[in-house]
Amino acid sequence: MISLLKRILRTGILTEPLPAPAEQGAQPEPELERLHDDILAILGRALTIREVDAGSCNGCELEIHALNNPYYNLEGRGIKFVASPRHADMLLVTGPVTKNMENALRIAHDCTPDPKLVVAVGDCGCGCGEVGALFGPNYATCGAVENVIPVDVRVPGCPPTPVALMRGILAAIRRG
């Protein structure tokens, strides 16, 4: 037990500041703080996300997992992944949406209470870039998430980095 506590102390707090919302990079500091205030103002308490893998290669999931490591610490910002779409404010969907997942994705979307946000993740989920084209619609897939349910924000990348994912989630909140 002592070695465990010692390790926790020695590791310290690793959480890094929130990324700037826009792609342009550095923004003035107050902007970052305002973002957190925005989350609280818009959502009252916190944001809850239901992740739906509708056909990814699991690369996007690796980066979504990374969002909760101590560096990005998404949960520490009041953004939490939940087990049911009924508890969720946002669906975070990876693709390309397979035909075998199309119905399940529609049902999950129907079960998410309004007002809801949908973020499409990855080149496949957004239907963009070279990889998005490689995994475009065919006999087994519907292609991009927006071909199946309405999408608010797109986070391209193969896979998108945790910082890009955080920017996308924050952008959706501000739009919502």
Binding site: G55, E61, E63, H65, F81, N100
Partner: protein
């Protein structure tokens, strides 16, 4: 050469990949006899797929890759264009069950008897339309209605079913698990997969080598290096080309980095599933450091598209190599300290020990490979020497020591992961110090009609890619095979003595790929 005096002549595959022999069965009976002989000698069924060869003026072809101590015999059986049917192999190798059903769904080649339920086809396309036939054309318009699936039912007083999925309660890939339980005791688990089926194999048809390399790196994102290497190795064998030594060493370096990244993540998640959040935080911190170093050294956190047919895309200079060695030393210390905490944590060990057991006999029967097989005491690692087997370069010169554990439970799969991290760190240091000089890439010229098979020991197990070119030198057929095909049925057995709440922990201890097996 011949195996076990069976009357099938095999020819060794050229190139620098894992040892593979190609042969042709005269008829279904020939194939069945060979399969029985492989089984009797303790061999495995490594992969099975179908191919439409009617454009070449032939019929259909069944490909079976077996695994023996010496390496992989790759046996093909030509089937007539009309009514292509072969004898059911699932009675010899239970692992054949899902692969045969997938080959029927994809190519329309049948097998006599056994389990005839669809596997990858859920109802999005008609039962008499086969996507991997050359004359399939665009998919017919068809209502995508969810189909019924004939799960095996368990009866009796108090027995009931718990259906789980396809969308699971975490950040995981989709699949359906049907538990039959009494109280919390699991009587039976049946999986229904295929939800991740994206028609990848069809996307390969007619593509060029470079496009195929982009696709193959996205069969299962967590194993992108293993797939890219297996594909490159298959392409090199089919083209009769050899990658330069520096490229082979860098491929090994990339593969071991992938193994460590995945093992770090799994060890954290396994701690978390046994309620030790400390473990998740610590290992995810290490994994993030590891991924950031990947991005620094190779320009991609998961190392996608770094291994290509003919060689690799990125080189490491001397300062980068010395940084890598320093990082390995730091990680060795950190993981050692965390292992001591895991080993001494009574609550954690209580959950790990005797949970989700698979015996060595069952593992052999199911053709299990890789980390899960080694955790049942089976000394099987494509990177390491064993009797009658010499690993391909660069492994032969590295003296890889396979990690094994006899217990077959979650604790064993945790222990094997720890041991493999230390061994991979050693391999990385050796590779970095002894990196041979020379070019990074050899030119490949596709040989019309050529075929090749690549086998790579990925972090999960044996990743196999079989490919052949058409008359124009484009990809006619590529079949990527994930070790999860064999390991998913093992998971069905592993939960049988346990309770439902242990399932997430047992499942995580295997951490199988859905996308890799759903294609």
């Amino acid at each position: 050469m011949r195996f076990h005096a069976e009357p099938i002549d095999f020819t060794p595959q050229p190139g620098r990949g894992a040892p593979v022999w190609t042969g042709r069965a005269a008829d279904g009976e020939d194939l069945q006899r060979f399969a029985i002989s492989v089984h009797r000698h303790g061999g495995r069924l490594a992969a099975l797929w179908g191919e439409d060869r009617r454009p070449q003026g032939a019929g259909f072809r069944l490909h079976c890759v077996f695994a023996l101590d010496e390496g992989h015999p790759w046996l093909v059986l030509d089937l007539p264009a009309e009514n292509p049917v072969y004898p059911d192999l699932a009675g010899i190798f239970p692992a054949a069950n899902r692969m045969q059903r997938a080959a029927r769904d994809m190519v329309g080649i049948g097998f006599d008897g056994g389990d005839q339920r669809p596997w990858l086809r859920h109802g999005a396309w008609p039962a008499d339309w086969y996507p991997l036939r050359h004359d399939a054309g665009p998919a017919p318009t068809h209502e995508n209605a969810p189909s019924d699936y004939d799960f095996v039912q368990v009866g009796g007083e108090g027995a009931h079913e718990i259906p789980v999925g396809p969308i699971h309660a975490g950040i995981i890939e989709p699949g359906h698990f049907r538990f039959s339980v009494i109280g919390e005791r699991v009587l039976r688990l049946e999986q229904r997969l295929g939800y991740q089926h994206k028609g990848v194999e069809r996307r390969f048809m007619g593509a060029d080598l470079a496009t195929g390399a982009r696709l193959v790196g996205r069969i299962s994102g967590d194993s992108t290096c293993a797939y890219a290497w297996a594909y490159a190795s298959a392409a090199e064998a089919a083209c009769g080309a050899e990658p330069p030594p520096r490229a082979l060493a860098l491929r090994a370096l990339l593969l071991e980095r992938e193994r460590i990244a995945n093992h770090l993540g799994d060890l954290g998640a396994l701690g978390n599933d046994a309620a030790l959040a400390f473990g998740l935080t610590q290992f995810m911190r290490l994994k993030e450091d590891w991924l950031r170093a990947n991005a620094e050294l190779f320009g991609h956190r998961y190392l996608m598209d770094r291994i290509v047919p003919g060689g690799v895309t990125h080189d490491l200079d001397a300062p980068a190599l010395s940084r890598l060695v320093g990082q390995c030393e730091r990680f060795g210390r950190e993981v050692k300290a965390l292992r001591r905490i895991y080993d001494e944590h009574a609550g954690l060990q209580d959950r790990f020990l005797t949970t989700g057991i698979i015996g060595a006999d069952l593992a052999r029967e199911l053709s299990l490979s890789g980390m899960a097989a080694r955790a049942c005491g089976i000394v099987l690692d494509g990177r390491a020497y064993r009797q009658d087997y010499t690993p391909p370069p660069p492994w032969a010169a590295l003296g890889v020591r396979p990690a094994t554990d006899e217990r077959g439970d979650v604790a064993a799969r945790v222990a094997v992961r720890f041991d493999e991290i230390f061994e991979s760190l050693r391999l990385l240091r050796e590779l970095a110090v002894g990196l041979p000089a020379g070019p990074l890439r050899a030119e490949l010229a596709p040989v019309p009609g050529g075929m090749g098979l690549g086998v790579v020991e990925g972090w999960r197990g044996e990743v196999i890619v079989g490919l052949n070119f058409d008359a124009a030198g484009r990809l006619a057929r590529v079949h990527p095979h994930d070790p999860s095909w064999q390991a998913w049925p093992a998971l069905e057995h592993a939960v049988l003595k346990d309770i439902v709440p242990d399932f997430p922990l047992i499942n995580k201890s295997f951490n199988l790929s859905y996308s890799g097996a759903d294609l």
